[in-house]
């Protein structure tokens, strides 16, 4: 890329600007975007985030600042500025384009949003104009850079460039990188969750920056390299992730976000359980949320709530086991007759079961049936859990931190999530997990290889059900009550069966991080974009269609699925360490 002048026209980007113009354009634009964040964008603090103060970036301005800085970094990396080469291992031009798009979209979105929200362009302060103009320059400049994949037109900017084979660092350095990555992840997550529920504009800007910046990072090969590193230090990365999740409540000043956090965690855990059934075994379960409901109701019944017809109070561990056992029984009862059959029978039966559960729970109210669940009123006033003398309902102070009720439950739920993650990874990488994947791939061949298909499927189904039951027992306590409303096939808010399935598919089937990410997104988006409430299911459907069209393997692709959907003829050769790398490893190990 140093000898851009020698490039033939075919390799040039679509805009016929000489490199001598394109480069300064990118640099000036990126710096201008950063600078604009310190100016006032509008005169009134009515617009979410208060963008009026000079010198103090807020809300969307911070996002513009980050996006501008990323653009600048990638541009400098492309120009071989010393010390930035690691940013762009694939040495592609498209990361500059994509990061400049993140700045461009967030600045223009903000400008338009200010004009629309406050009624007219008069509400824009000079800062906003500077931001809009400055953020557009790098996009133009990037289009004049050498084309990332000559001969492919605009599409070339969006398809991932050829990746070099990544080397390895010394183990200690890799762990450091993983630590930094985890901290960045926590910061991003905390920022996203911390956006005020009324600040839909800021959240949309946040999503825009995240999507384009992540896209750019993927193109640069940085994320690939990072995930290879964390895969090499699996245990360490998992421990860090757990630590980051534990740290999350300490970053929050009020309990509201911890409430969102614990709900995300419940949703994500259930999605991960579903991933065993759908992602690993290939069984389509359309009524999975009912198992969550069974667990929640079972826990509520034995919680000692005065509205529960059983006037017993189990300690939490016993309640959790009860919930799991109840879900397990239901799983076996549903699975045993249907899993003998192949094809879509299971989907229909589980869909039916999900509805039957909700209707039955609605009707067991003492009028239309025996009083077990109090019908639509649900079982309320579920007492808080007491663990080792701690009442999880009380706020505790730890040093200078106050941990509220939801933070306590977040910690409890983290234990449940860790259990589910461990079950998932350990089961997947074993004889039984291989037999599940074999069944997913080709059931006939699997049985001909000696796998008892019915048995293996039943185990997967029952295991998935009981894990959902476990999450349900915590959920009953977190929400103080259980009622039939959330346990439906499709609804405007998670958890429901359609959202759970979507979380698995969106995140990436067969992976651990996929459903966790998918669930976080699917929980936060409806939560933060309240104005969309009436169109939620419509948007949801459209989004699913687009997903299936453009990225059927989900955001985080299973190594296998990636190859399945995007056949490019490349062989799946595992990265090999070169000799010199091996020497470094040996040295560091010594």
């Amino acid at each position: 890329m140093t000898d851009t002048t020698l490039q033939s026209p075919a390799e040039r980007g679509p805009l016929p600007l000489p490199p001598a113009v394109a480069r300064p354009l990118i640099a000036v634009g990126a710096v201008g975007t950063i600078a604009s964040a310190f100016m006032s964008w509008t005169w009134t603090p009515d617009f979410p985030g208060n963008l009026t103060i000079y010198g103090y970036p807020a809300g969307l301005q911070i996002l513009a600042l980050v996006a501008g800085a990323l653009t600048l970094l990638y541009a400098l990396a492309l120009w071989r500025v010393k010390g930035l080469g690691w940013l762009n291992p694939s040495d592609a031009t498209s990361p500059v384009f994509l990061t400049s798009l993140s700045a461009f979209t967030v600045c223009w979105f903000t400008g338009i949003a200010i004009a629309v929200d406050l009624g007219g362009l008069v509400n824009l302060d000079p800062g906003a104009y500077v931001a809009m103009v400055a953020s557009a320059l790098p996009v133009i400049g990037a289009l004049a850079l050498p084309h990332p994949a000559p001969g492919t037109g605009v599409k070339g900017y969006l398809t991932k460039p050829e990746q070099p084979r990544h080397g390895t660092l010394a183990p200690l350095a890799e762990r450091l990188v993983v630590t930094v990555g985890t901290v960045i992840g926590l910061v991003i997550f905390t920022y996203g969750i911390g956006i005020n529920d009324d600040d839909s504009e800021t959240f949309i800007g946040f999503l825009l920056v995240c999507v384009f910046a992540a896209w750019g990072l993927v193109h640069s090969g940085l994320l690939d390299r990072y995930s290879a590193m964390s895969a090499r230090h699996k245990g360490f990365a998992a421990a860090l992730a757990l630590l980051a999740a534990v740290a999350f409540p300490f970053t929050q000043s009020d309990d509201h976000n911890a409430n969102i956090g614990v709900n995300i965690l419940i949703f994500a855990t259930v999605a991960l359980g579903l991933n065993i059934v759908v992602g690993l075994t290939g069984l389509l379960d359309l009524g999975y949320v009912a198992f969550l409901g069974v667990g929640a109701y079972a826990a509520a019944l034995v919680s000692g709530s005065e509205y529960s017809p059983l006037h017993v109070q189990f300690p939490f561990w016993a309640a959790a086991l009860t919930g799991m056992a109840a879900s397990l029984v239901f799983g076996v009862v549903i699975g045993a007759p249907t899993l003998r059959l192949r094809g879509d029978y299971l989907a229909i039966v589980t869909l039916g079961f999900g509805e039957i559960f909700r209707i039955a729970v609605n009707n067991l109210d003492g009028d239309s049936g025996p009083n077990v669940t109090r019908g639509p009123n649900g079982i309320t006033q579920i007492p808080d859990i007491k663990l080792f003398g701690f009442n999880l309902g009380d706020a505790h102070t730890l040093g200078s931190f106050t941990l509220g009720r939801f933070a306590n439950y977040l910690f409890l739920m983290l234990i449940a999530t860790a259990i589910v993650v461990a079950v998932f990874t350990r089961a997947a990488d074993s004889r039984i997990g291989r037999s599940w994947i074999a069944i997913r791939e080709d059931e006939t061949a699997a049985t001909a290889m000696g796998i008892n298909g019915f048995r293996a499927k039943l185990i997967a189904f029952a295991l998935g059900a009981s894990l959902a039951g476990l999450a349900g027992t915590v959920m009953a306590h977190v929400n103080y009550s259980v009622n039939p409303q959330p346990y439906q096939f499709a609804g405007a808010a998670p958890p429901n069966s359609a959202f759970l399935l979507a979380a698995v598919v969106l995140g990436g089937m067969g992976t651990v991080s996929g459903p966790l990410l998918g669930a976080s997104l699917l929980y936060l988006i409806p939560e933060k974009l309240q104005f969309m409430q009436n169109y939620e299911l419509l948007t949801f459907g459209v989004a699913l269609i687009l997903l299936m069209r453009f990225r059927p393997e989900g955001i985080i692709a299973d190594r296998r699925r990636k190859l399945e959907f995007h056949e490019t003829g490349q062989l799946d050769v595992p990265a090999q360490t070169t000799l010199s790398d091996g020497a470094t490893v040996a040295k560091a190990g010594a």
Partner: protein
């Protein structure tokens, strides 16, 4: 074995002795694959039984494999999105017994079993010549290697009898030669082999005994010389009419079956 009115395989009595390579030939649609499917429990035979080492096998594929009969498929059926090694490990399923609990607890027993399985699988990959590709996805292997992998996967279940359905289909002459060597090597491990093939050279080089299946019935069974000399075999392949044509009897049979079946609906 009947599919609706079609009798695909009819009264085929067939014995394979241990340490033998037996060929099964016949024109397209003769019912060879169907015969395999009956043997391995993928189809439940309308009448008749399969016995292995004196014991009658239930028509359940996994129990048949458990008992010691493994197979490959005419149209390769690998687990496309699993690695080569994982494919063979799945083949080990019947010879290991670690369940969910031991997978979750990961005790020393589990680890030992996994290690042993892997060593065994690697040994088999070495045997068929795929050890260097253990981490490739099965779908990315070239055709000939996919066939080899299928054989390795079948061998992983430690069978006493291996059923090969057209193992050289689509192979070039060198690959066919290599496959021949492989089958001999398998026999030398003490495994009896029953092989379906259209390549007559391959069959007559390889087999101690050959059986000919025509229109679902066994025409003749004997050594290569006997079968090669039999003019009915030639006729069956070339499609000439010949005396004692089983077709007439077959046609009557089919008609009878059709009338019988139409009362209970088409049972495909």
């Amino acid at each position: 074995m009947r599919f609706g009115g079609l009798t695909a395989v009819r009264s085929v009595d067939f014995t394979v002795n241990s340490g033998e390579i037996v060929g099964l030939i016949g024109p397209n649609g003769a019912g060879k694959t169907t015969f395999f499917n009956c043997l391995t429990g993928l189809y439940v035979p309308t009448e008749g039984t399969v016995a292995y080492q004196g014991k009658v096998l239930p028509p359940k594929p996994h129990l048949v494999t458990q008992a010691g009969i493994a197979r490959t498929f005419q149209n390769i059926r690998l687990f496309a999105n699993m690695t080569v090694l994982e494919n063979v490990l799945v083949g080990r399923h019947t010879r290991t017994k670690e369940g969910l609990w031991s997978a979750l607890l990961r005790g020393p027993g589990f680890r030992r079993a996994e290690r042993e399985s892997e060593a065994r699988a690697m040994e088999l990959l070495e045997f068929v010549g795929l050890a260097g590709k253990r981490d490739h996805l099965a779908r990315n292997l070239p055709y000939g290697e996919q066939r080899k992998l299928e054989i390795a996967r079948a061998l992983a279940s430690e069978p006493g009898l291996l059923l090969l359905d057209e193992p050289t289909a689509g192979m070039n002459p060198q690959e066919t030669r290599a496959a021949e060597e492989l089958v001999f090597a398998i026999r030398d491990r003490g495994i009896a082999v029953l092989v379906i093939e259209h390549d007559m050279r391959f069959i007559f080089n390889l087999c101690d005994r050959v059986a000919v299946l025509v229109q679902g019935e066994k025409l003749i069974e004997g050594t290569s010389d006997v079968v090669q000399a039999d003019e009915r075999v030639v006729a069956a392949y070339l499609g000439e009419p010949f005396e004692g044509e089983p077709g007439a009897a077959e046609a009557a049979e089919v008609e009878a079956a059709e009338t019988a079946d139409s009362t209970e609906g088409e049972a495909r």
